[in-house]
Symmetry: C2
Subunit: 533 residues, 2 copies
């Protein structure tokens, strides 16, 4: 079985993505997560390029990794300096990693335009830098920047550039499609020429996704003999991103029979993907292959009835092999089979002709036309199901809420206070609370009134809070008066659940979601108790 | 020059995407947008499958298209019926389109498991259905569902299935990678076998993106002779989506020298992409190749200084060729060159050693650490720039706001009221307004106080309102107390601008963004007036 090493550059190239910002501490945590996944090389950053990367290399000193080698990334030495007195190379060595990756120009245009030096001098920079570093660390990796564009415009020079690195002792030559403009057929042509010129070199591929073929380019290079793939988790990176390792890895392992991190590590992919997006404060991409929430989600009625017979009919791999799972979506297109499936998932065995199903379908369609989207809020769906079954929840009865948000010139933040009146077990409770904002104040006031009756509520924590402006409605009514959908994720010691609210008024929408979250908690605990007894 | 036809299935396969919902009227508007882009075939839906598609075909009757042929999609006839009395085929004909696309099984597993019929009978369904429809419409397209999986498991049968459609008169045979599990090398192998078996057939490709290679698979099929590509705008579709036409089209046109919609139509791609995501109420994907907001956005300092010398150094195509544009991002990694570039874009020619630049860089880094993200809020950035230049805006002075949101048991929605105290041109204004929610009420009260002094404010409209919970903060403080970032997009007769606010309190964050939006409008109008005089 062939082996291919995986080189992750999430912490360096990935951090170039728009809206993505890692702190140095975030980077330390991600590095350990990548090591745990079985990644072979982790590019930590460019020492000296910015304060975050500088701090990262200081913090990570002394940490040990099980699978991965940490690498520092930087450029060849400046044209005006020698390796011995170059600040770039000194910074790289100071990072104290056993592997150093340096990039150099392999496109003649870049040497003459971006660097403004003669082509011969550029080859010297590469050769000198690789040789100098190679005497001081275990392994030097050479990233041939813009290799494929260079190869297209001046193939001889592009090959001379990597040859210079090879002869100076670079352990691996990485062919970079820096601008992401190359197609698989161009990758193949260049790979074949390089293998002819440098038959014993260890080659790698570093692809960007500007043409939406970064994964295919990486697979093509491996098919033709590359022994390393560079990429990032979730494909984060400059512009359209890098080759997505969350897709490259399972494609190589499950479809091309090539060992990378090993099949036993594959189920960690989903969690690693979420960890990186969450840490980087980016919303996960639903449609992301393999690890996206939609990757094994079925909406069409025909597909749903087929997967109930045999999953292979509409799934290219078993979802669990990458840590993901099969989902059936409720929607406008949903037939009864989706509802039956969903109800069954929740433990309700409804017959196809049960009048509850018709009632529920009608109720869902009506609510979805208002902007509710039950595919993402299982707990709210279950509460509606209870109602359709004629068993509405009666833990408390709402009577009144009142929220004030006030700010004076001299205040850095507004003052917020909420009062709530509810009836619980025949008693009226009138409570008040302040908060970090109106929703927080309402949430706290409501719980104050309930916890006396339901002490188990003290265990719940709000984990996430999402607001989505429904843009269809924006067009109708304009900006600050548009419909919003609020999703709240809540957890206790054992479970996590998502609830939802929709309104013109963000406070009302949030209130609905918070009320559902609390009702669901009480209902769930009751159901468990009654199952036991 | 080779020609390849583009077949869009956004309205049918695209509508299967999670969270995507089109009304029948949305679908009519999208169909015209696709026609205007130069698409050759528009698959409108599956008549009879759901109420939306049914209504769409009723509404679209009598509409004319310049470039596109409208197609109706459906399955081969039921095993229990004949073509003459089959409800599917009758529904297809009733849609009254000149082209009909039907799909049939080409994977033996599906015929036996999903349909539960003998393999021979499945070939009859294909043959009978194609022949029956072909006598009644101009063109029948046959979608060979699961062709590549079928070819892998039973190549003879897969080819028999498309041969049956070919012999019955199908104008085109579309090879579908329905589960999206195939890699380009598998596409190539199958394409070669099909061409050998059916040398005169017109072949097409319908790829799904479950392996993140749908675009590459489509290009590979075209390279080997396919004359039609099926896909969707933005790659929307079941699970991970379909081949993304916004990438397939420019790759074919600009890189493979193949004519599809024609290069003169390419700049409409960006607008078409936004139109479809906006209509479908999905947030555009920033990192989307070619048409994404990040596709030509540069963050790293080195890249920025290089593109200022020559765009080709870090851009694979000219952004304008697909209707997009170059952007330079401000960020933690931003050096002075980004700020100088951004300021220049806004018309401020700052010298590299201007003390304003240092001051601004420091201010931006400090605010970005709090969650502000100026790369998406140009207008808020310009206001900060004004302040750094020592010219803060003094259109009005904030003193006080007070918002109440109250709901009683019997109210369907809460009652909301805001009061605002500001000082304008030496006068105190105290105003009050109700609203559809707290932010709307505040916005209305503020404008009430200002419009008397600045009548031009009556021209502005809030176009969009986005709330992003900063999840880094969620971890620290928990759900309803987390930091939120509000983005507000505002427009008048001539411009659109985006402003921002960040706070624990959603009302405070919204208030900041609304205040910036109003200040920016007044400032912008003043600048124009002073330029004229």
């Amino acid at each position: 079985m062939r082996h291919v090493t995986i080189y992750d550059t999430t912490l360096r190239d990935g951090a170039q993505a728009e809206e993505l910002n890692f702190t140095s501490q975030d980077k330390v945590r991600i590095a350990h997560k990548l090591d745990d996944l079985g990644i072979h090389y982790i590019e930590g950053g460019w020492p000296g390029a910015n304060p975050t990367d500088q701090k990262f290399f200081e913090k990570i000193k002394g940490h040990t990794f099980t699978n991965a080698k940490l690498t520092a990334f930087g450029s060849t030495h400046f044209a005006k300096t020698t390796p011995e007195n170059d600040p770039n190379l000194a910074g790289l060595l100071a990072a104290n990693t056993s592997v150093i990756t340096i990039f150099g120009k392999s496109w003649d245009l870049h040497a003459t335009t971006a660097l403004g030096i003669p082509l011969e001098r550029n080859l010297e920079l590469i050769s000198n830098s690789v040789r100098y570093l190679n005497e001081r660390v275990d392994e030097v990796i050479f990233d041939a920047e813009h290799f494929f564009d260079g190869f297209k415009h001046n193939p001889e020079y592009a090959i001379q550039a990597i040859q210079a690195a090879h002869e100076a002792g670079a352990a691996r030559l990485i062919l970079c499609d820096t601008n992401g403009g190359s197609l698989p057929s161009q990758i193949a042509k260049a790979m074949e020429a390089v293998q002819k010129a440098l038959p014993e070199a260890q080659l790698g591929i570093h692809a960007h996704n500007d043409s939406e073929v970064a994964v295919a380019n990486s697979l093509e290079a491996v098919r033709l003999g590359a022994t390393q793939v560079q990429g990032t988790i979730n494909g984060y990176g400059e512009r359209c991103g890098n080759a997505n390792l969350c897709s490259v890895i399972p494609n190589l392992e499950l479809k091309m029979d090539i060992k990378t991190i090993g099949q036993s590590n594959l189920p960690k992919l989903l969690n690693t993907s979420h960890f990186v997006s969450e840490t980087g404060n980016l919303r996960p991409f639903m449609r992301q292959p393999f690890v996206g929430a939609s990757a094994f989600a079925h909406k069409g009625g025909i597909h749903v009835s087929a997967i109930l017979k045999d999953s292979r009919t509409y799934e290219h791999i078993p979802p669990k092999s990458v840590g993901n799972e099969q989902r059936v979506l409720l929607s406008d297109q949903a037939g009864k089979s989706n509802i039956l499936f969903k109800a069954k998932e929740l433990g309700y065995d409804l017959g196809k002709n049960d009048p509850t199903v018709d009632k529920l379908l009608k109720e869902l369609k009506q609510r979805e036309s208002m902007g509710y989207e039950y595919s993402v809020a299982d707990a709210s769906f279950e509460l509606i199901l209870q109602e359709a079954l004629g068993k509405p929840l009666n833990y408390f009865h709402f009577q009144n809420f009142f929220v004030v948000d006030a700010k004076r010139e001299e205040d850095p933040e507004p003052f917020t206070e909420a009062t709530v009146i509810i009836e619980v077990k025949g008693q009226q409770e009138h409570t008040a609370a302040t908060g970090m904002g109106p929703v927080n104040a309402l949430d706290r006031a409501l719980r104050k009134g309930l916890e006396r009756f339901y002490p188990e509520l003290s265990a719940i924590r709000l984990l996430d809070f999402k607001v989505r402006v429904l843009s269809g409605a924006v067009r109708d009514t304009g900006g600050t008066a548009s419909f919003v959908r609020v999703l709240v994720e809540t957890g206790d010691q054992t479970d996590r659940w998502t609830t939802m609210g929709v309104s013109h008024n963000i406070i009302e929408a949030s209130w609905q979601a918070v009320v559902d979250a609390i009702n669901y908690k009480l209902f769930k605990d009751d159901s468990r108790r009654s199952k036991k007894s």
